[in-house]
Symmetry: C2
Subunit: 205 residues, 2 copies
Amino acid sequence: MNDRSDNTDPMARTSGSHSEITGPRLREAAQRLFARHGYASVTMRQIAAEVGVQVGALYNYIPDKQGLLADLMRAHLEELLAAWAAEPRGEGPLGALEAFTRFHIRFHLERPDAVFIAYMELRNLAPENFAGIEALRKRYETELEDILRAGQAAGVFDLPDTKLATLAVIAMLTGVTTWYRDAGRLSRERVAGLYWDMVRKAVAA
Amino acid sequence: MNDRSDNTDPMARTSGSHSEITGPRLREAAQRLFARHGYASVTMRQIAAEVGVQVGALYNYIPDKQGLLADLMRAHLEELLAAWAAEPRGEGPLGALEAFTRFHIRFHLERPDAVFIAYMELRNLAPENFAGIEALRKRYETELEDILRAGQAAGVFDLPDTKLATLAVIAMLTGVTTWYRDAGRLSRERVAGLYWDMVRKAVAA
DNA sequence: GTGTTATCTGAACGATCGTTCATTTCAATC
DNA sequence: GATTGAAATGAACGATCGTTCAGATAACAC
């Protein structure tokens, strides 16, 4: 009657099961659910249901719930830093700032769930996980701060407090994930352009 | 041996107990804990311990945990709208924008916990509570949007998309709560001034 | 086909959750 | 000082949590 994956009374390994499939699906399901409802509100059984598996099977892939969260956040931040490192910079501080702005908007709009988690779930990290992940976040901030300081030194920016300006710009840009929808009236390109307009003027000398 | 409030074996109403005291303390404790650890992670027993009472006593003051969250958020947003309504506006769109910016920074720095909750815990609201509270949040956004649109119409601002600009400015300003500490090197006045510098330039024609 | 390994089920564990309630004591009134 | 209502305790409820594990079955190597 059944051929694959929909046995009506499975008692053990199910047909078609594979770690190369279940592993990624677990991470995707967790990311989506954590972003939607928050880490603390999501149960392991919800994740398992989304994956299409019983809850015990999840522990073939993760040490525990906390480890799952930490892995998702670390992976996201490392991907963010690697992507920015590979991004072509423009000319001078102004070009670098434009590159950063457009990169930040684009990258974040492509991964709204991961961004949301990395930002909202810091307080749910165990101390031993928090330290390393917070350091990664800090490193990304420093990338922007370096650009702003260089521009300030070169006289193309007017920023009495580069640290504050860094945080202000990042907050402004990251906020895009809270409202942007692909079905909306603005394309991602256009949104990036509009944010760049505001950033450019805000820091201008 | 004991005089007040530290009976070693209390079995019922404790000495010094009063609803005018316990009620506010409950709300303060919940606000602090929700902001620090997140609504879903905080237990009623933690709140009770902070108040100095057993968990059952909390239900003399609240219908349930969800109602407590909704009340905190609604009260905060209503206070926000009332305070802005009572705030003196400056002259013209530019004056109004400066008034809004300085008000927003000041108000939010005075209540970091309430702000954090109103922003982070929207997804933990039951649908029946969400609608009304989201409407209040929206009304506050509209206050800024009206200012920006007026300035755009008057030609003092250059904003191709006022809706996007509204969200960008609010995100930038609200972000101040994530890093500002009173013990830091910048006064609240100075911070408000620095943010105003950036906002002013960002929207300028 | 046989044997080995990878993968999942089903059931259970103790802990903890939000909430309720009968009971007890304190505060207030007269 | 007796009476009444306000306020809190302590214990309990069923539900649900994260996690573990023995056993069962599919995938794969030979």
